[in-house]
Subunit: 139 residues, 3 copies
């Protein structure tokens, strides 16, 4: 049994609140020396299309809170979701997977996606990793 | 300790994107010889009402992507969510639970539901199973 | 290794359906003698602002079901989400955490929040607890 702790997240959402949750959980894990495995599917996968994550916004029900949140994030000098993803990759402890069935369902090609992706895989690869993760979540 | 690996999912959502996520994770688990335990609650439970799953659609925020997704699914000859549920049951490795408190909250009766349900139970039964699952998620 | 079983939930949502899910899973866990650890972030955290949980409602896509659900809950004499939170605290087995980055993002102060909170912490504290939980979920 491996000594390194591990978090395994399915990132199904593409709204900025959920992306922040995924990246905060992953960044915190990595800062504690854990491995972080992020499997992007559906709207999460769509947010990996070049230029898409920069446009991520709050879900419809919470749109009225967006301006205040963005002002506070700026004041806090909080990194954007894409900056967090790039830092995660720089840690050397984070792997990013793109869900191949989602790519086919929405006609997304490898060249459409940001370069931070390690691999394009199906759910079997992810579940094999998640099977002995300390924390696995669906976001 | 059991040798068979196990996935335990709370299916709270009834939109087609989340149902696909639940069934893809469960189908992949079963294909690897794992047990899959699916606990349907709230909108997930509502999608088990006869005829409801066939009408499942994308959430409001993503409605504009529905037509393109459906065309791709047809081209891929991808099974519908209900077909996936039936195949899951045929594997002999998948158990489907209906959440009894949700049934009472929304006035749903056993005879209203599809026949693929194994049992109508409360959260205690599910959590006892999830307690030693390799992967447990809330979808 | 601890003998007491444990559930660790990230409560990211603030709609009444998701709050009920979190509190039903936590209450059931506590009734079985498990520890329950609830980490409130984003809209979940906002629902801990004094007076907010009483106003929690269904998400936009399901608003048309709200009246029927409320009538059934009343008929069942089902506790409100806030009543469930108070009972959870009375069990002595449930810890409630407020996510400090969310508080800063949305300008929420300690005195704005209900008194049931045990601690204001970041994700590291929560993940350290979740690392050996039997069930961890993101709601």
């Amino acid at each position: 049994m491996s000594q390194t702790k591990k978090i395994a997240l399915v990132v199904q959402s593409g709204t900025i609140d959920k992306l922040y949750c995924a990246f905060i959980l992953a960044s915190t894990s990595v800062a504690m020396g854990w491995e972080a495995h992020l499997y992007f599917t559906f709207w999460g996968l769509q947010s990996l299309v070049k230029g898409a994550m920069e446009k991520a916004s709050l879900p419809g029900d919470y749109k009225h809170l967006e301006e205040a949140m963005r002002k506070n994030l700026e004041r806090m000098k909080y990194p954007t979701p894409y900056e967090m993803l790039k830092r995660l990759k720089q840690s050397g402890l984070c792997k990013v997977y793109a869900c191949t069935p989602t790519m086919e369902m929405f006609g997304v090609k490898r060249e459409d996606l940001v370069p931070e992706i390690d691999d394009m895989v199906g759910a079997a690869t992810f579940l094999t990793i998640a099977a002995d993760a300390n924390v696995s979540m669906f976001i």
